[in-house]
Symmetry: C2
Subunit: 246 residues, 2 copies
DNA sequence: CGAGTACTTGAAAGATCTCAAATTAGGTGG
DNA sequence: CCACCTAATTTGAGATCTTTCAAGTACTCG
């Protein structure tokens, strides 16, 4: 499975010097496997360790007082996981593998050392945080303002698009790998209602489903159904000056 | 009106050297007033200018396709505004003053120059972004999972707490300064329903209202009503090593 | 004092949830 | 490979929450 690395991800918006690139590669050198369904990090756990996702797919969620679960984000290769430990010293989200995955553990001290030697990497980190924030703001608007049908359509499109980014071979057909309950926890709906909305999208000819696989039949219509603010990437730090290195 | 500055805000989680402090002060030197109701930045506007809020209160919102508005965050003294211009070169949110405010305009080039000279400031920036992200995740969970009554209770508590942070004199009584329609746009509810929920909270003896002023009568009950994940600050970068400065 | 905006309330429509039960799918031990 | 067991999906019906529409009241600003 081809997968974007953290270096690729950062390199796409910031031309890296050889030494910067080497430092990032060194950071993400180690590997740890996470089996589908396994928990990598638990909410509120004290820790100084964060991760770069190298392959697979994970999700981050928070548990509410009433025991319900809000899935905050889906994570794909090239994403940084549990960055909250840098500033909070603990994890804000539980991280669980949706598919078999490989992560690179990074201690925050290592990361910080690298950013102090290569200050532009600290800005790259801030940029990644900003991207997350922008995605979160979009998700917020989506959940607050759109219908159940739109939210389900949106999550399908998001999953397909993000999967495609790390595997360009993915076309209109893909396997979400989530239960309807999980889709519900991501969209703020009950599993029962997610089911009805999937059925409706199917009845309306926007998607087809069989054996856990979803095929997008009418992508323009699905986009319209999702009526999402399309916040195309657009991250660009290439204007940063180069810096002398310590 | 006493108000936290950006330097205070960062200083609270990261002991700053004299020169770091001086650099931050220089960044936020200039001032521009924004009259209540005035728009400082418009969504999607290309720009390289961001702001530090010095006093007052503002809000950031996005407009959806259907013309409705989602208020993404409320901004208080010490907050950075429109940081998206750093990585996107354009504003993701429209920023409007809720009360008469004063901001310090900062060009991203200035900010970046400071962070390259003082790399720890870049990490402070990343930390601020993370705080925003954490708040956003909480808001997301709140809107996705809680009742209208809980959301209204939560927004009242949030406003009171954040106002108190920049003005410790504020007790149980405060002036939100928002219309019910704005509260609705922040919580994903209609103005009509916000009204009903305010009335319900009042009838139940949790709050009192008169002339735009809200008084919290039973704070524990209001907290219970809001059933929010209280993510107390906890940001700490004091463990960062000091760095030699250029 | 008048006009516009915000607030308030009622009634009905619509969306989503809850509860319950039937069906299907996937995984495991024999 | 089969039989069973559990988890996931599917569907129906009624309850609940929120919105919509409509109308009247209160406030604020010029």
């Amino acid at each position: 499975m081809p997968a974007l690395s953290l270096v690729d991800r950062i390199g796409a918006f910031l031309p890296l010097s050889t030494t910067e690139r080497a430092a990032l590669l060194e950071l993400t050198e180690r590997e740890r496997g996470v089996r589908r369904g396994a928990t990598l990090v638990r909410q509120n756990e004290r820790s100084t360790e964060l991760f770069a996702l190298k392959s697979g797919m994970m999700m981050g969620y928070v548990l509410l007082d009433d025991g319900s679960r809000q899935i905050v984000r889906f994570l794909f290769p090239g994403d940084l996981l549990s960055t909250n430990v840098i500033t909070y010293g603990k994890a804000h989200q539980t991280l669980v593998a949706v598919a078999d995955s490989v992560v690179a553990p990074i201690d925050r001290a290592q990361l910080v050392e690298a950013t102090l030697r290569f200050p532009r990497l600290a800005l790259a980190l801030a940029a990644i945080e900003q991207t997350e924030g922008a995605a979160l703001a979009d998700r917020l608007a989506g959940i607050a303002k759109t219908s159940a049908r739109a939210r389900v359509a949106a999550v399908l499109l998001e999953l397909r698009d993000r999967m495609r980014r790390s595997d360009p071979a993915i076309g209109d057909s893909f396997v979400p790998g989530l239960t309807q309950e999980e889709i519900g926890d991501a969209t703020g709906l009950t599993a029962v209602h997610v089911n009805r909305m999937l059925r409706k999208l199917e009845d309306q000819g926007l998607i087809a489903r069989m054996a856990g696989r979803v095929t997008i039949l009418d992508e323009p219509a699905l986009h319209r159904a999702a009526d999402r603010v399309d916040r195309q990437a657009g991250v660009d730090l290439s204007w940063l000056p180069e810096t002398r290195e310590a």
